[in-house]
């Protein structure tokens, strides 16, 4: 792949990405959206983020896509602590501790 091609790809992806990110912010401005649209938008975060990470949890790239107990347990601990404490930092801590503890334990047995 030539240098010029690589630069062209970077610029094209950059412009396209900006247009996607700016899209509604740019066009709508302060115009108000209808109720039913707002009702759907309220669930954008919980509709995208869980689906974004679910495959990474179940089929981690680090193990070549094989389900991995430490990573799965760390994910469960993170969501559980986050749900019950409503504290993001506590959730990250719980996930990290679970991950490293189990990686270390499974490393000992393996």
């Amino acid at each position: 792949m030539s240098n010029a091609t690589i630069w062209a790809i970077i610029v094209a992806v950059g412009i396209g990405t900006f247009l996607l990110r700016f899209s509604f912010l740019g066009v709508l401005g302060a115009a108000s959206l209808p109720q039913w649209v707002l009702r759907h938008l309220r669930y954008t975060a919980v509709a995208v983020l869980p689906g974004l990470v679910a495959p990474l949890v179940l089929w981690p790239a680090a193990t070549g896509g094989t389900p991995d107990l430490p990573r799965f347990a760390a994910a469960v601990a993170t969501v559980g602590v986050g749900y019950f404490t409503r504290n993001v930092i506590a959730a990250i801590g719980a996930g990290a501790v679970t991950l490293y503890a189990l990686l270390w334990l499974t490393g000992l047995s393996g």
């Binding site: 992806v13 740019g26 509709a47 490293y100 490393g107």
Partner: protein, 237 residues
């Protein structure tokens, strides 16, 4: 004289965004490593991280470049991976829409998973924030992440393969997003949307160009909205 000072939302955003250095750091580092392996020059790798500024799409594009895929396919795939950001843009529009165009353009450039996810928590928690306060928060979240993303790409280019596997940095990103998801589960509608999203994303994982995630997200949003309607109706009876 007790005058209530307007809350410094920029600092609050900064604080909310800091844990995401754990994500942007390793992820950017990894991009630098992979870019060097793929044969990109340092200016190209850094331009990628600055101009595109989107981890998953950068990795997807790089992967296809290594495979020598047609340029059109590479660009289309990277943009498909970023399509979810148009949804973020739609979510942000009612909250930030009254800001001047240049500020909205800047917010557009910095509209990423992290700034959106943190805003999704705080804007609804503090609905009486003014538009400048919301923008302050939004820019606060990305202030540590954006420079770190580019700097860590540079470090990755330089370090190359020298990062030990036992650090398991691959899992920093999932953990940070999972940590945000827990506190978002405020109602049965949020739970229903999240479970739909997970189930469909896994079922459709084989669909090319990340389109499975988009379908999963759209259906999950409809499920959330429907459950909200049912609950509202039941409350009326």
């Amino acid at each position: 004289m007790a005058r209530t000072k307007p809350k410094n939302t920029y600092l609050m955003g900064l604080r909310d965004g800091l844990p995401f250095l754990l994500v942007a750091g390793p992820f950017g580092l990894l991009f630098g490593v992979v870019a060097a392996e793929a044969g990109l020059t340092a200016p190209q790798a850094l331009a990628f991280s600055t101009v595109v500024f989107a981890g998953a799409a950068q990795f997807a594009a790089l992967q296809l470049m290594v495979e020598n895929a047609p340029v059109l396919i590479i660009v289309a795939t990277a943009l498909a991976v970023n399509l979810r950001m148009a949804m973020y843009s739609a979510w942000l529009a009612p909250w930030l829409g009254a800001a001047p165009l240049w500020q909205r353009a800047l917010a557009g450039y910095l509209n990423v998973d992290q700034s959106f996810a943190c805003s999704a928590v705080r804007f609804e928690q503090y609905p009486d924030w003014t538009v400048p306060q919301r923008l302050g928060f939004f820019f606060g979240v990305v202030s540590p992440i954006a420079p770190a993303w580019v700097a860590m790409t540079a470090l990755g280019l330089w370090l190359g393969e020298g990062i030990p596997d036992w650090l398991a940095l691959d899992f920093a990103m999932p953990i940070c997003f999972l940590a945000l998801i827990g506190p978002m589960m405020r109602t049965a509608a949020h739970l229903a949307a999240a479970f739909t999203s997970v189930a469909l994303a896994l079922l459709l994982a084989g669909v090319p160009y990340n389109l499975g995630l988009l379908v999963a997200a759209l259906v999950a949003m409809m499920v959330g909205a429907q459950v909200e309607l049912w609950q509202a109706r039941r409350a009326e009876i």
